[in-house]
Symmetry: C2
């Protein structure tokens, strides 16, 4: 006999559209007659273990729609990564509540959580359908053309650099903008979409897919500054030396690691400051400024791609449909089918979990400090409609009178 209870949770870093996926699950599930309850776990798998559930079935559709358009994880999130013992706790709770379908919205770590829970459920003989719903601003899930959350964050980065470029043109100097992305440079590369005119910044882009050599960096900045009288630089927080050591951690006073063994890269301005100090000291340029976009790039309210919103909703809806009409666990993935159109498929969990996609070589220029037109074509439709545009004066110079020679 079916209990008709499903559970949805959100894991990892919040995004601008992760609530679209949660609401997609909640509203689509309620269209199936045998679904009696849609529970949400507060703060991801931690909320399951702690038995902290809310009943989304008692929420109005109207408010669910409003929450869908609100950034960050409305159910709360977690960085916990369940081990076997943790998963056994999860089972106890799910069994006690007669949960039949588990939907977990998240990135790499969350997909691995779903994989482990799925395996543990199978081992325990507990009939639990487990579906992972993709989400990450890093765009680093394999098997996906792109991941929900990335387009909106990319839009923020592109808009930020479009504005920073204008500011830098007005008060020339060197500007370093540090962008999130531990292993994958997609989000940093999105800075290139803020360019309009050939001399616009970012003039240099440093990605974790390429080894960062400080001397080469300084030579690049020097050459660009000589050519344009200014230099706008996009840097991934994940840039590393030849040994793989993050440049950021080389100077961190206290390296902080999370439960997954990852060094903290975000939430500190140290990398930007180090690079600015190097430029000032070695190149003798006076006006050098660094910004670290930090949490703004994933949480800023009011900067979102409508394409991202639509797709994030759809992966939530499709997750329910795959669960209800299909017969296997898996991870929902986005496939590009046109320019621009997408469809969705269900990949085996082990094909996605724990794997990291990085930028394909065809997306990175030979110089290693720019993106290719292939990347521009790839990203542009994801940014959505209504991208703000930058315009320049095209006025005639006035002939000099005193200094006419």
């Amino acid at each position: 006999m079916s209990s008709g209870k499903i559970l949805v949770a959100q894991g990892g870093g919040p995004t601008a559209v992760i609530n679209q996926s949660m609401v997609g699950v909640a509203l689509e599930a309620r269209r199936f007659n045998h679904v009696t309850r849609v529970y949400g776990a507060l703060h991801g798998v931690r909320g399951i273990v702690d038995e902290n559930f809310v009943d989304l079935t008692q929420e109005t559709s109207h408010n669910l729609e409003l929450v869908a358009s609100t950034p960050s994880s409305a159910l709360g999130s977690t960085r916990d990564k369940p081990d076997i013992a943790y998963c056994q706790e999860i089972f106890k709770v799910l069994r006690a509540h007669e949960i039949e379908h588990f939907f977990y919205i998240g990135g790499n770590d969350s997909s691995d959580t779903v994989r482990i829970v799925s395996l543990e459920a199978a081992k325990a003989g507990y009939p639990l359908r487990c579906i992972h719903i993709p989400k990450t601003i890093d765009n680093d899930l394999v098997g996906n053309d792109h991941t929900p959350g990335f387009p909106s964050a990319a839009r923020f980065v592109a808009q930020a650099f479009a504005g920073a470029n204008l500011d830098n043109a007005a008060l020339p100097g060197v500007y370093v903008g540090v962008v999130m992305g531990r292993h994958a440079g997609f989000l940093t590369a999105a800075s290139a979409l803020g360019k309009k005119f050939p001399d616009d910044g970012p003039h240099l882009i440093y990605l974790p897919e390429r080894t960062f050599v400080l001397e080469q960096f300084l030579a690049d900045v020097k050459a660009t500054y000589a050519r344009h009288g200014r230099c706008v630089i996009a840097v991934s927080e994940g840039i590393h030396d030849a040994s793989g050591e993050p440049i950021a951690s080389l100077l961190a006073r206290e390296v902080e690691r999370d439960d997954h063994g990852n060094v903290q890269l975000s939430g500190t301005g140290a990398l930007a400051d180090l690079l600015c100090d190097e430029i000032k000291a070695k190149l003798g340029i006076k006006r050098v400024r660094g910004d670290t976009f930090g949490y703004l790039q994933r949480s800023f309210i009011g900067c979102v791609s409508d394409v991202d919103q639509r797709e994030a909703r759809e992966v939530g809806e499709k997750a329910v449909q795959f669960a209800m009409w299909g017969d296997r666990d898996g991870s929902v993935a986005i496939k590009r089918t046109g320019y621009y159109s997408v469809d969705y498929e269900l990949l085996p969990l082990e094909a996605v979990a724990g794997k990291t996609r990085v930028m394909e070589d065809e997306f990175i220029s030979a110089s290693g400090t720019d993106v290719t037109d292939a990347f521009r074509l790839y990203l542009r439709p994801l940014l959505g409609s209504g991208m703000p545009d930058a315009f320049r004066l095209r006025t005639a110079p006035v002939p000099k009178i005193l200094k006419k020679n």
Copy 2:
């Protein structure tokens, strides 16, 4: 005999709407029959001395409108502050080009430049009408209800904190956001407009109008964290100790000063990092994150107040009208006449130049770490239409089964 030539320039830090004022001057001036040329000086007073002018009269109205909606200073800006010798150079150039009206868009330093140029012109017996047009995200010009550029930057800050609060609620911890503002806390205080629910952040706001005491700060954070399980903090880059020494400069490795003797506060993440380190070390809270909003808050393309755009355009138009219909130099000022309505007046240059407005006491709560309702009423209409809103789930908790005690 009249040459019919006017000159407009932009000084100081760019804003989201400073081009509205420049275009306001250019388009309004062309409606006066005796105006033959509208010149723009590239990079402020530096462009005058270097005789780098462009002819805005040869620009299309259509493109001027598009430039008006583009952030940053389309003519370029400067941090130069003219002394007597510098002003004599300016006169030579203005006289050679038969410039009759000089419009300079800028903040405190720029208004002082206009004052000096006006005095030098009078001393030299050169008939030059000098009008200062207000612009500063710091909102620190005296005699103005508020200044163009501030509302859009305030909107960015409010939206940033609305998003950061949602992110912090999803993954609880301490979040420190550092906001621009050397002496005036208006922009930092704008973070309060990102709050919707009583337990939303920012929970604590630190302004340069109040002495910053590290021990009290830590006690405030500890108490907030104990109450909410998290804490979102807005900090002005200009916070200082009892002696007036900026907290940021207490830890700066190399203090950089600009030509006005100001210590560089922006373009570095040091203050946020210091405060985060203190919280981690003294309070033992693990998840502590700091962001420095940096140049994004004044340059981000796509975050603008329509009220700000309108008023920035009008101060440019009114500057021309005051120059043409009036008989004295001065500084255009915004007066609030209703809720919400404004009018404009021309203040004497010496009433504005070189003076700094700070937040009025009535805008700061008795605790010193929050704003008052008077401030909320003051700021809200300035933020403009279409402010994004944040919504929450209101779902019912599900009774626990295993942990029902």
